[in-house]
């Protein structure tokens, strides 16, 4: 029976071409959507590396009364130091830190270099005071956090995440105490020495692609360019109303600066809404497209069945039962779907072969492929339900009567 159906499907390939094309297109669309969904789902469930609850960030603009840059930096750093100290005296504030690039921020600074043995290293760089780790509850999993004593070293202490440690020193190697191989930039740069390792710091939020991270310790020395952000951890359950008191205090401490306070919880909400909206839109568009394809398939199959009324009548005369006819229409549709899927597979395997979408790892790719195949077979089966029911209902005497 299978060979028989194959012969029919094959010999009708011209009239099945449209169906095959529709299957191919829907497979590609389903695959893209499913791959993105799986990718985002997996990212979402990856540990963030920090705790956003009860953390507020304070952005500020420095009042520039000083004309001389050096003088301006020194004054700003003095003010920052005072702000940090004063913030921690407020009852709900558990810890205060200064840094760059808080969570749910798109902007970043990064660095890209070749090691002396020619490996290409990419990492995002974040500057922060030692307390930053405490404020965001970023766990040090090996080595230690930054310490006041680090300020005296001639080398720059850094803390790296696991993926960067693996890139720099090899999978499973202990990075602690090692110097970062800066390749041909070695002579011009301060030595970077790893003092600690963290699991991760997924600054871009739950849906961000994992990235290498390197923290550089910052002390509020008069000569350095001032940081742009304060972050505070509050006692759990601190009410939003605290913001008013906080702003008042900040304005009193630095009247010539302007501040804006925002909780990471609010930032996260806005971030998720913003990031999920296009994904949802893509899913809706894809669903609509699939619906159109489904209606098209039902139409084409329906027409097929009408054209083949005589054939169905003949088969019934020759002993086919209604279920036989049902299964034949369904079986042929699944075979046609398989042809479309073979073509779809040929297209889709180009993606990893050509190195496109390299952020999709092979397991996400494989799972998305499997899910899409199942979805397409289900779609094909559902679309043949009505036409095959119609075909099974054909009365042989009538079918053979009309020519």
């Amino acid at each position: 029976m299978i060979r028989h159906m194959l012969q029919i499907v094959w010999n009708r390939k011209a009239s099945n071409a449209l169906i095959i094309l529709e299957i191919l297109v829907s497979f590609l669309v389903v695959f893209a959507v499913v791959a993105m969904a799986i990718f985002n789902w997996r990212n979402y469930h990856r540990p963030l590396g920090y705790a956003w609850e009860d953390v507020w960030q304070i952005n500020f603009r420095i009042g520039d009364r000083e004309f001389d840059a050096a003088e301006r930096h020194a004054a700003a750093n003095r003010t920052l130091e005072r702000l940090l100290r004063e913030l921690e005296t407020m009852a709900p504030v558990v810890r205060a830190a200064a840094g760059h690039y808080p969570p749910y921020t798109r902007s970043s600074s990064s660095r890209n270099w070749d090691t002396s043995d020619g490996r290409d290293i990419f990492t995002e760089i974040i500057e922060a005071t030692p307390e930053f780790f405490e404020v965001l509850d970023i766990r040090i999993v090996a080595g230690r956090g930054f310490e006041a004593a680090d300020a005296a070293h001639p080398w720059q202490p850094v803390i790296v995440n696991r993926t960067l440690a693996a890139d720099l020193f090899g999978e499973g190697e202990d990075p602690i105490g090692k110097t970062v191989d800066l390749g041909n930039m070695k002579s011009t740069e301060t030595e970077l020495r790893v003092v600690g390792m963290i699991d991760d710091y997924r600054k871009g939020g739950e849906l961000a692609v994992p990235s290498n991270m390197m923290f550089e310790a910052v002390w509020l020395e008069p000569t350095r360019r001032p940081l742009s952000l304060l972050a505070i951890r509050l006692a759990p359950g601190t009410p939003a109303a605290f913001e008013e008191e906080l702003s008042k205090r900040l304005n009193a401490l630095a009247p010539e600066w302007s501040f804006s306070v925002r909780s990471l919880a609010a930032k996260r909400d806005a971030y998720l809404r913003l990031r999920l909206a296009p994904l949802l839109a893509a899913a809706v568009v894809a669903a609509f497209l699939i619906l159109m394809v489904a209606l098209g398939l039902v139409g084409v199959l329906w027409q097929n069945v009408t054209q083949r009324t005589l054939e169905v009548g003949l088969r019934r005369a020759k002993g086919a039962t209604r279920p036989n006819i049902h299964w034949q229409i369904l079986g042929e549709m699944l075979m046609i779907a398989s042809l479309g899927l073979v073509l779809g597979t040929l297209v889709v395997v180009q993606v990893p072969l050509m190195g496109w979408l390299s952020f999709l790892d092979l397991s996400t790719f494989g799972l998305a492929f499997a899910v899409s195949v199942v979805v397409i077979y289900c779609l094909a089966a559902i679309c043949s339900l009505y036409p095959s029911w119609l075909a099974a209902r054909i009365q042989p005497a009538e079918a053979l009567h009309y020519e």
Binding site: H4, Q7, I8, L310, E311, L314, R316, A317, K318, E403
Partner: protein
């Protein structure tokens, strides 16, 4: 072999009621070769469809090989059609997308049978109708007479007890028609297959064992 008792067939469409058959009583013995004659539209095909279990009578009974089939399920009817009845039609009804041998295999698809045996039987049936050299052709590549021979091979491949032929020579010229008739006689003589054939040709009807005449849905004697 085939028994019809007080059979009536009425086609009902929205407005019109067509009485295609009325008060038909007949019995066809095993091994008979019966022809049915009558003007167009008198109910010959309807009668054949009832005998072949493709349709059910509005009134009366049809018995095939002693079995009363009026309460039979679709499955049992299909099985009876498959194992006991072979059909041949005026317009052949070959499936264009299938090769000759695949067309002949069709009745065997609905039996429990290995693919190889199916193929062997289909080839044997094609040999019987003298088409061994056209096995992998497609119907469109054959002449009308050859197509009807394929249809006969398809009708006999399952070794049915009864062959129902609805104007099998209607679309053929007389020499091809004679060829097909010879084949049917051969089948009737050698395999003892019961044959019921609708025809418009008095000459062909004269060569059958018995002729039933229909007029306006009624038997005429």
């Amino acid at each position: 072999m085939i028994e019809l008792q007080d059979v009536e067939k009425i086609y009902r469409t929205d407005r019109i009621e067509t009485v295609a058959l009325a008060n038909v009583n007949l019995e066809i013995e095993a091994g008979e070769f019966v022809s049915i004659m009558g003007p167009s539209g008198c109910g010959k095909s309807t009668l054949l469809n009832l005998m072949g279990l493709l349709d059910v009578p509005s009134e009366g009974y049809v018995r095939l090989a002693g079995e009363s089939v009026e309460s039979y399920s679709d499955r049992r009817l299909s099985r009876l059609r498959n194992q006991r009845i072979g059909f041949v039609f005026q317009t052949f009804h070959l499936i264009a997308d299938l090769s000759v041998v695949a067309n002949v295999e069709i009745p065997l698809l609905y039996r429990r049978m290995r693919g190889r045996e199916r193929r062997q039987r289909a080839l044997a049936a094609l040999e019987q109708v003298g088409l061994s050299s056209r096995v992998h052709h497609f119907p469109s590549q054959l002449s009308g007479g050859q197509q009807q021979r394929v249809a006969i091979a398809r009708a006999i491949v399952g070794e049915p007890d009864v062959l129902l032929a609805d104007e099998p020579t209607g679309n053929l010229d007389s020499s091809m028609g004679d060829e097909v008739m010879a084949m049917l006689h051969d089948l009737n003589n050698r395999a003892g297959t019961t044959i019921v054939m609708v025809t418009h040709d008095e000459r062909l009807a004269g060569r059958t064992g018995r002729t039933l005449r229909l007029f306006d849905g009624r038997q005429v004697n």
